[in-house]
């Protein structure tokens, strides 16, 4: 076991845990954001650099600080390690820079993008990014590609997190038919000669995509996410590997979209098969369990009445703050 201190919070985790997972085990504000790391995909992480943290003390045996900021998803904890995340201005500054870099070639077409409202990059940019862009060159653009008849790839929006290629390798077992071609600035996600992926699990790359690069064609431009009602649902799926536990996004009586159940870090709890995702679009196909609990900070929670108590508490808190400030003058 190793004892690690992140932003003053002491956590004890097994050896070999990464800083990111140690922070996640404690939860709260100290968890670094992650765009490319996905706990369910082996080998993911280390690409986007948003989870950079500062290690001010390497370990008890060697208390020297690490010379540079380290990606927390790829750095293992040591006993006695002291990590600074949001308490370090250097980390926040670096993260702001990373967000700016991620957004350099991003088309910022959120009003059009189906992912808007549940997009990791949107949340990250909102929290850490700058309002203005300093980039004056033309943004790189690509043609839109159909990956099979159910998935649309907008390469413009891609941040090259490689999560979808891990899905193709590990979950969809599609062989190495989906990957990244070219290098550096020219790198792009591609299926080998635009070959359709016909694995039963290829749809999961939509769920793992942190941006709107891979979207569901069956729900394309159907509705903005915040106008749909997310409901937990399940069905007995014939596929041995599919859990059949999903979230259905309803509008009226229609099911517009089916996705996996995502946790607080936007990672699916279990992968679902393409039949569940793309073909079961009737309410009668599903056993509806009840409304999905959506985080209050998400735009999707608009007009859901489950957070009224928290909202009331917050309003009272702010009222108290304001009146205290007024009394101080």
């Amino acid at each position: 076991m190793a004892k690690v201190t992140i932003d003053g919070v002491e956590i004890e985790v097994p050896d070999g845990t990464t800083i990111l997972n140690a922070a996640r085990s404690a939860g709260g504000d100290i968890v670094p954001p992650a765009m490319c790391y996905y706990s369910k995909l082996e080998g993911s992480g280390g690409k986007c650099r948003t989870c950079l943290v500062k290690v001010t003390q390497g370990s008890t045996n060697d208390p020297r600080p690490m010379p540079k900021l380290v990606p927390s998803c790829r750095t293992n904890v040591m006993d006695g390690m002291v990590v600074e995340n949001i308490t370090s201005p250097q980390v926040l500054e670096a993260r702001k820079g990373v967000v700016e870099f991620l957004l350099i070639n991003h088309p910022l077409d959120c009003p059009i993008c189906d992912q808007a409202g549940e997009c990791d990059l949107q949340n990250l940019g909102f929290k850490h990014g700058a309002v203005n862009t300093r980039f004056e060159e033309e943004r790189r653009t690509y043609e839109k590609i159909d990956i099979g008849d159910k998935i649309k790839l907008h390469m413009d929006r891609c941040i090259l997190c490689y999560r979808c290629t891990f899905v193709a390798d590990q979950v969809a077992e599609g062989g190495r038919c989906h990957g990244v071609i070219n290098r550096g600035d020219h790198a792009e996600i591609s299926t080998y000669i635009e070959k359709a992926i016909d694995s039963d699990f290829s749809g999961n790359m939509i769920d793992v995509c942190p941006v709107g690069a891979l979207t569901d064609k069956t729900a394309r431009f159907g509705s903005r996410v915040w106008f749909t009602k997310p409901m937990d649902a399940h069905r007995d799926c014939d596929h041995p590997k599919c859990s059949g536990k999903v979230v259905v996004w309803e509008k009226g009586d229609e099911i517009l979209r089916v996705t996996g159940r995502k946790d607080q870090y936007n990672e699916v709890e279990s992968f679902i098969c393409n039949t569940c995702r793309f073909e079961k679009k009737k309410t009668s196909d599903w056993v509806i369990e009840g409304p999905r609990h959506i985080d209050r900070k998400s735009v999707v929670s608009l007009n859901h009445y489950e957070h009224l108590k928290d909202i009331k508490e917050d309003i009272l808190k702010y009222q108290k703050q304001i009146s205290e400030n007024l009394n101080k003058g």
Binding site: P107, D109, C110, P111, I112, A116, E136, R220, F221, G222, S223, R224, W226, F227, V299, L302
Partner: protein, 190 residues
């Protein structure tokens, strides 16, 4: 009973004086007021023919703008509908097909766009929320109708005509006008 205010007055039915019984002073008093008002400037105007100047920030009937080339700016992002406190706005999106680039500015457009003018409170939040400079409130007054259904305005009434553009420069903030000068941004491309 306890009076609500101390302004109430007891009504008394007392005998009128001789001057009051004559009535003539009271009639003349009334006539003076009447004649004075006849020669005063009228407070009203003959509305449809004569229109008053509107305040520059008057918020009346909405318009869905087109860009310089006549393509609809609205991309059905739904931010106006989510900002609307009266929930007056609904829309359906559709994907632009090849060859429709002149009709719709973005890849996605509003196939239907409806504002219920009975629900609308003309607060202007839709205009604030719009990222595409598509919806603006204008100085036009929503006309009266006989049926409630007619107050649900569709795209036929909201989208401006290509040859009858509606000027909304009065409604744009200095910050927006400054931002629009930078022609390298995709938002400002013609």
């Amino acid at each position: 009973m306890q009076p609500l205010t101390n302004r109430s007055k007891q009504v008394v039915k007392k005998e009128m004086t001789f001057a009051e019984k004559l009535y003539l002073p009271a009639i003349f008093g009334g006539m003076i007021i009447t004649f004075k008002n006849m020669f005063r400037k009228s407070a009203t105007v003959q509305y449809p023919e004569v229109k008053r100047d509107m305040s520059p920030n008057f918020r009346g009937q909405h318009v869905l703008k087109r860009d310089e080339n006549g393509a609809e700016r609205c991309t059905a992002c739904g931010l106006c509908a989510v900002a609307c406190p009266a929930e007056a706005i609904t829309m359906n999106a559709a994907e632009r097909k090849k060859g429709e680039e002149g009709l719709y500015r973005e890849e996605k457009y509003a196939a239907n766009y409806e504002i219920n003018m009975l629900r609308c409170i003309f607060c202007g939040l839709c205009e604030d929320a719009c990222p595409k400079e598509a919806i603006f409130l204008t100085d036009r007054i929503v006309p009266t109708e006989f049926d409630r259904d007619d107050f649900v305005y569709g795209k036929d009434k909201l989208v401006e005509k290509v040859n009858e553009r509606i000027d909304v420069t009065k409604r744009q903030t200095p910050e927006v006008l400054e931002f629009k000068k930078n022609k390298s941004l995709s938002h400002n491309k013609i």
